[in-house]
Structure formats: C-alpha cells, structure tokens
C-alpha cells in the first residue's frame, strides 16, 4: 500500500521518503443522562508522507486517497522546498517488539455487546438524585509504515474504552465523579466492577461536605490527581523540550534530582495497553525507555527529527497523525514499580498517619499555568479532608499549590493503589507540606 506513495515520491524527485498509512474504524455508544440515544460508526483512512529532497525535509497529509499519490507527493515536495536541513536519516529494517496489540473478540464485538457493557455500568451506577453518562468506544485500526531505506511493517490494533461520569446537582452544588478504563480487549467483569467501585467510593465519600484545612499540610494525590504534579516532569522528559532549551532536566542525566522512590519509564510494549505498538510511526522498534531510575535522570524520549537535531538516537517515540509532521510522544508512562497486589481503596493505604490533610483526586485548570518551571496552583474539583487517618468528607472552595520539582524530591509515601489512568500507570503519592488555601 505505502509503496505507491514512496515510489511516486522518488519518481517526483525525492531522494528518500517515509510514509505512514492509517485506517481506523470507531464504534461509539453513548448513554446520555442514563439513556442510550445515539450510536455511531466512523471510518477514516489517510496517508502522512515525508520526503527528503536535497537534504531538506517536507511533509504532507491527505484523506483523499482515490485520486492516486501525485497530489500528496507534490505537496510534500513543496513543503521540502522550504524545509530545513538537519541530517535526518531514515532507519533500515528493524526487529519489531513482540507485543500483542490486537484482540479478535474486541474487533468482532457486536453493537449489542457494546451496548450491553454500557447498560450494565449505567445500571450499577444508578442512584437517587444522580445522573449517569456512560460511553463505550471500540476502535479497530490498521497501520502500515514504510520508508525508502527498507523499513516496512504493518499491524492491527484494537482498543475498547469505557468511561462514566456521575452528576449530583443539589441546588447550586454540583458534584461530578468520573472515571474510565481502557484496554486492547473487551473489559472483563472485574475491570467493570473496579470502574463502578472507584466511582461509587468517591461518590459516597463526597456525601458530607466539610470545611477545608489550611496551611502547609500532608496531601495525598490519587493516580488521577497526580496529573498536576507529573505534567511538568513529563514535559521536561521530552527530547523536544531539551532541544528547545525549556527542560529543567536537560544536561542532568546521571544526576539524582528526585526522591529515590521515584522512577519513570515509558513502555510501548506493555500487554493490553492501547498505546502499545511493535514499532513507532517512523519504523523504529519499540522498547521500554527508562527516564528516571531511583530518582536519577536517565534520559529523554526522541523521535527521528529531535534525535537528529540533538545528536541523539530515536528512542522509538515518533508519533504521527494523518496531518502535520511526526513529533515525539509518550506511549505508556509507568511511575514506580510493581509491588504486589494493588489495593483499589481510595488513598492507597496512605491516609493512616495523616492527622489533618487532604486527599486530592481532581484539580481545576491543570496545564494552564507556567508548567515548565514546575509551579502549580489550582482550585480543587474533587478533594477530601483527611482527619486522623480517615476521610472526613469532601472539601470545596480550596486550592492547592506547590512545585513539582520540590515535592518529588521528598515523597512521603507511595500508595498501594497503582493503576492505569489514561496512558499513565501510577500509585497515589503522599507529600508533606503542600500549601492548601481556603477561600
């Protein structure tokens, strides 16, 4: 398939080229406010083509595939006429990682089956005074990659995501609790139960509203709540940030920057994860990339371009869309290490020693501020006060602030509740002396 575009590019004058063809079929059933009112399918296919012409790099994309490759090729070459020279080299054939990305039961699941999953979650989450939204989404994709250096590969992948949010509006008080699961396969009964229990526990604990504490306090961030703390670190671990001079971790490989309990690996070979893949979108074999080990910075993620510009090697993190150019991106970000059977209870067994503090599950406005420096300050969307080791109730009208680099130097405790939250596997983390303000 992709050969056609590579041949056309070379015929039109490109010295080298790489192409990425992607086809996706998506089926979505959504229960809005408890009712199944819509089902949709979406099919799309397109090609992203990159060319090297006189050492200059150009890229173009299209979903119009029936007219042949000439228009796309011409646009890629026009892009290359303006493109920069930075020593980009396409990799030869690789040995793809052995990773299962495709589940036949997921690909073949009927509409009724997907509806059934959604209905079960709706029914199990139904309760007085609450409204439930549930979406079940199944995606089947096919990806083909090839370049003129001889790399070629194709794979199929599946993903099934179930997400739910429950709303309770009482007067002008609005509470929403949301969660979701995803996997390459159809979720089993235990995965659905975990989803229901996770939402249920956070709802029950939120029934009582209590006054927020104030001051520098012990704060537990749940796997979801950690987003604000981890965002500056993951940004800084991208080779692109290093290249741009905005990563505070640049030039610190081998240096102990964080608590010895803090480790981060990006792992595109995790079984069952929708972001896993045998090779990246530039034909580089997938492999786990250690980024932080026991508090010491080990490296950054790179795609071909950032690697070429930074005089580094691609770590297999090239991400592509039909439109635009490839960019480095994380796949499955793994924080901490495997340590026995996870315990799904809220707080991950970290609350016991807390005399007065906070459990943070969701913050408002993550990513809005000056993320690079590590400082954050956010009102809480969903947080609980912890008094003498127990959750006392939900707090509203509070804000937490801190600096990720300072907090991660001293981790007060690691929860036993490690779980996937989107593309991140992480436990809850406890930090002491986090600034909590009341308003």
């Amino acid at each position: 398939m992709i050969e056609r575009w590579l041949d056309a590019a070379q015929r039109a004058g490109a010295q080298q080229a790489d192409g990425w063809w992607h086809r996706a079929e998506r089926t979505v059933v959504s229960f809005e406010w408890g009712r199944l009112k819509a089902a949709s399918v979406g099919e799309e296919a397109g090609v992203n083509l990159r060319v090297l012409s006189q050492g200059r790099v150009g890229v173009a994309g299209s979903t119009v595939l029936h007219d042949g490759p000439d228009d796309l090729t011409a646009r890629a070459l026009a892009s290359a006429a303006l493109g920069e020279r930075f020593g980009l080299e396409f990799p030869g054939p690789c040995t793809p990682a052995v990773v299962s990305t495709f589940s036949a039961p997921a690909a073949e699941a009927s509409l009724d089956h997907l509806v059934g999953i959604g209905r079960e979650v709706v029914e199990r989450l139904a309760r007085d005074g609450c409204q439930v939204n549930v979406t079940v989404e199944r995606e089947v994709t096919e990806t083909e990659f090839g370049n003129t250096a001889g790399a070629a590969g194709t794979y199929q992948a599946t993903a099934v995501a179930v997400s739910a949010d429950v709303w309770r509006i009482a007067g002008d008080d609005v509470l929403t609790v949301a969660d979701g699961i995803d996997d390459t396969g159809v979720p089993d009964a235990s995965a659905l139960s975990a989803l229901v229990q996770s939402i249920d526990e956070r709802l029950r604990r939120a029934e009582v509203v209590v006054a927020p504490p104030e001051g520098g306090l012990p704060v537990v961030f749940t796997p979801a709540g950690l987003a604000a703390v981890l965002l500056p670190i993951t940004q800084a671990l991208s080779g692109k940030a290093v290249l741009q001079g905005v990563s505070p971790l640049a030039g610190r490989v081998g240096e102990r920057v964080f608590d010895a309990a803090f480790s981060v690996t990006d792992d595109p070979t995790r079984a069952g994860r929708p972001a896993s893949r045998p090779f990246d979108d530039e034909g580089v074999a997938s492999r786990p990339t250690p980024l932080v080990e026991a508090g010491t910075v080990r490296g950054f993620i790179f795609d071909l371009e950032t690697a070429a510009r930074a005089k580094a090697t691609s770590t297999g993190h090239g991400h592509r869309d039909i439109f635009g150019k490839p960019a480095p991106g994380f796949t499955n970000l793994v924080v901490g290490r495997d340590d026995g059977t996870p315990d799904g209870a809220l707080g991950g067994q970290l609350l016991g020693p807390i005399v007065d503090g906070l459990l943070v599950d969701d913050l408002i406005g993550v990513g809005q501020g000056n993320v690079a420096g590590g400082a954050f300050s956010h009102p809480v969307a969903l947080a609980y006060r912890v008094v003498r080791g127990e959750i006392a109730g939900r707090v509203k009208d509070a804000a937490v602030a801190g600096n990720s680099y300072d907090l991660l130097k001293r981790i007060g405790g690691i929860g036993r509740d490690r779980r996937w939250y989107g593309r991140r596997l992480t436990p809850s983390l406890l930090f002491d002396g986090v600034s909590v303000a009341r308003r």
Binding site: A60, V64, L82, W167, G373, S377, V436
Partner: protein, 458 residues
C-alpha cells in the same frame, strides 16, 4: 455534486436523514525560534450521515471515502433502528432552506503559495525575536477553506465556502530560572488579506513576556477585580455559557431546576447573549450544522435567566425554539449544542470610572486559559496590574482567578461602556470536539471581590 448528494439523501432509508460533506484545504506553517519547524498543505475530505427513525435513536456514520456514501446512509439507518427508545426523540421544526452562500473569501488562501505564507509568518515571528530577553518563540500560521454541503430529507440544501485564518505567537522570555511567556492569538473567518499587518500584536506579546520577568508574583487573596474585555469574554463563555447549552439540562431534572428560566443570575447590570449571526466574526455562520439559521439569543437580561442554546432535539424536548447552535467541528463528529459568539452586553462609563473607586485591587488582563467545573472555575490571566488608589500600578504575574460562578456573577458591580469582540485563535472544546471556532466579547467588568491565587498565603 449537488445531484449526487440529493440523490443519496432521497434514497436513504431512514425517516429522517441528514448529510454533511466537507472538503478542506489547509495550510499550516510553524516557526520555532529562528527555525522553520514545518510548512505543509493538506487536504481532508469526508462526510457524516445522521439518521433518525420514530421511536429509535440517532444513527451516525462518518467516513473519508465518498464512494461509501450510500452504504454509510444504510449503516446510519441500521444503527438508528437498533436503538429503541421509550421516549421518542422529536426535532423542533425548521423550515427547509436552500442557499448557496459565498461570504467572500477575502483573498482566497488557496491561491497563495506556501512560500509567501511562510515569509509572512517569518516576519511576525521575527517581530517577537527582535525583543530583548526573548529566548524562544513559537509562531504559527494556519489557513483553510472548507467547501461545505448540508442536505436533509426535509428539503434543506446548503452549500458554503468557509474561509478561516488563525495566527498565533508565543514568546518565551528567560532570565536565570525565571521563565515567562506572552501570547498573541488572532482567529478570523476571513482570508489572506486579513492575515496582513499583525506585527504589532506579535511584538506586544514578546514585550509582555520580557516585562513579566521582573514583575512580582501577585500576593494571593481576595481583591476587587477588574476584568479586561478579553478575560471577561473568556469568563462568560467558560463559566456561564456552557451551562446555557441545553444538552446539559434537557434530560437532567436537577440541572434543569438550577437553570430555570426566570431565575436571578447575577446583578441587574448583567446582560449576556450568544449571536451566531453577528457580522464578520469567527463564530459566525449563516446556518448551524442542522440547517437552522443562526440568530442573536439573549441568555441573561437584566440579571435574569431568559434563554438557552438549542439544537432541534433539545428545543423540541423543552418546548422552546431552536436557536441555531447545533455545531460540529468537522464531518468526523455529529453536531452538538455549542456556543458561537458569546458576549456580555455593554454597560456605561469608561475604564477610568471603573477603577476610580478601588483602593487596592487587581486589573486582570488576557487569558492563558480557563477551566470550569460547573459552578467552580479557574482562569489564568496573561498578566495583571495592581490597582492602587484608583490608578493602575505595577505589573504582576501568576494571576489565577478562582471562584464560584453564582457568587461571582452576584458580585459584578460595574460594567463599562467599552464593549469589544476578541477574535482569538484556538477554540472551544466539548465532548471530544476541539477546536470549534468561537468568539467572545465584553466590556470591562468590575467584580466586587474575587479570589486571586498566586503566592498562596501559608
């Protein structure tokens, strides 16, 4: 094309069928510092069929291969028939329209070469780089022309050419460990001619970033706050506008109660509306993506909730009239209830009048971002100035405005008479559909007291 689409809709098996078809020619150019990151032109084409049958749900099928159109109409019908509903979906009546809309492409961007577009952006990016203290920039140019078709089985046929140009600049200033940024963002439903002459906005963004290097962080606390028109507009869109989207309330009894028409919503000074028909704005279109004509919809009048934004489905369910607010970001998505150009109506007096009585307060300007969790919101202003003894004083940074919507609307104590629209790039996100072109407008607005984060008091 018209005949082919008309035939497809006529042959579609569902009781109600609508079809959208789009072809978009897009150019995107990005500079990072002095480097050209990318200059590329792409073509995107596809369609979306929605089918509805009595007593059944919506069936939706989107596709990129036009040859698949008849099968996709079948597929949408099958999906619709697979969903049985106890309470049927009704659609509010909209008379059929036939229109061929050519709003003018204002200099068709498809006739301009990639190189010329790159040179234009290089000049804007250069304006940022020429400012002292700037260590990095991102400049981006994006244009598109979309040929748009909408047809439904009730006889509506619309054909439009929709232009769009967005320009944005982000300037990073750095001194030792202090990193600050300034943003410029321009989004227009226009063409190449309107993309010219914006150096000043890019330079100002860079100068702001450099100035913030030496500005102190604001001390957190409760202050009287004056919002500039840009931030006031973002505020009303995020904090109130989304609540007025009827898909949020129409099947949720508690939400419906919270948003009962006639309820007091803010002080009597407050007037809010959404106007998809306002001439020349980025959120403006003659029809929405269900073929309903757009209009000016009052939402709050003199501090009382008087209206909300509808699709045909939500309007029918609530016994109200459709407002032309069913929108989709592309053929990949079905239309959902969205804003267009959302505004706070004009008040009286000048900016100087607004700050005159403030002994110690904050003038919050521009928006780096904002998020609402319904009644709670957080907005990060691009920068702020302290107000001291009725005068603007020093520049301050890290101005994060947080609060409760209802309390904040009740504390609006003065609205100036200096209304303006802010035509930014980016766009609105909802239900996985981002970025939808919208505009916000407002005059300066004074809030009696609001919580400002920053250095959180210990």
């Amino acid at each position: 094309m018209r005949d082919r689409l008309t035939a497809a809709v006529r042959r579609a098996p569902a009781e109600f069928t609508e079809l959208r078809l789009e072809t978009s020619w897009t150019t995107a150019v990005t500079f990072r510092g002095r480097h050209l990151e990318n200059a590329t032109a792409s073509v995107d084409e596809g369609g979306c069929v929605r089918a509805l049958n009595r007593g059944c749900g919506w069936g939706v099928a989107s596709f990129t291969s036009l040859d698949a159109l008849p099968q996709m109409a079948q597929r949408a019908n099958e999906l619709s028939r697979a969903l049985r509903l106890d309470r049927p979906i009704e659609l509010a009546e909209v008379p059929p329209h036939e229109a061929d809309v050519d709003a003018g492409l204002d200099g068709d961007v498809r006739g301009i070469g990639l190189e010329e577009k790159t040179r234009l952006l290089e000049a804007y990016n250069g304006a940022m780089l020429s400012v002292g203290g700037i260590v990095d920039t991102v400049g981006s140019y994006r244009d598109s022309v979309t040929e748009y078709w909408y047809l439904n089985s009730e006889g509506t046929t619309l054909h439009e050419l929709r232009p769009e140009v967005t320009l944005s600049g982000s300037a990073i200033a750095r001194r030792d460990d202090v990193i600050e940024r300034g943003l410029a963002s321009i989004g227009l439903r226009r063409g190449w001619r309107s993309a010219q002459g914006h150096e000043g906005e890019f330079r100002a963004a860079a100068e702001r970033a450099a100035a913030l290097l030496t500005a102190p962080r604001i001390r957190g606390g409760a202050y009287p706050v004056v919002l500039d028109p840009e931030l006031a507009g973002v505020f009303i869109h995020e904090a109130f506008g989304h609540l007025s989207e009827a898909d949020f309330v129409f099947e949720n009894p508690q939400a419906r109660e919270m948003m009962t028409l006639g309820r007091r919503f803010g002080t009597p000074l407050l007037n809010v509306g959404d106007n998809g028909a306002a001439p020349g704005l980025r959120g403006t279109l003659p029809f929405d993506d269900e073929g309903t004509p757009t209009q000016d919809t009052p939402l709050i009048r003199d501090g009382v909730l008087v209206g909300r934004l509808h699709s045909r489905e939500t309007a029918a369910a609530m016994g109200e009239r459709p407002t032309g607010n069913a929108r989709a970001i592309s053929f990949r998505h079905p239309p959902i209830v969205r804003m267009t150009n959302t505004y706070i109506g004009n008040g009286r007096g000048s900016f100087a009048d607004l700050i005159a009585g403030i002994r110690l307060g904050v003038y919050a300007c521009g928006a780096f971002g904002g998020q609402t969790m319904l009644e709670n919101f957080s907005f990060t202003a691009a920068h702020g100035r302290m107000i001291r003894d009725g005068q603007l004083a020093e520049l301050v940074k890290d101005v994060v405005l947080a609060g409760n919507l209802f309390q904040t609307l009740d504390r609006i104590e003065h609205i100036a008479g200096d209304f303006q629209w802010t035509q930014m790039g980016g766009g609105c996100g909802k239900g996985g559909q981002f970025p939808l072109p919208v505009t916000e407008g407002a005059p300066h607005v004074r809030i009696e007291e609001a919580l400002i984060g920053g250095d959180v008091p210990q």
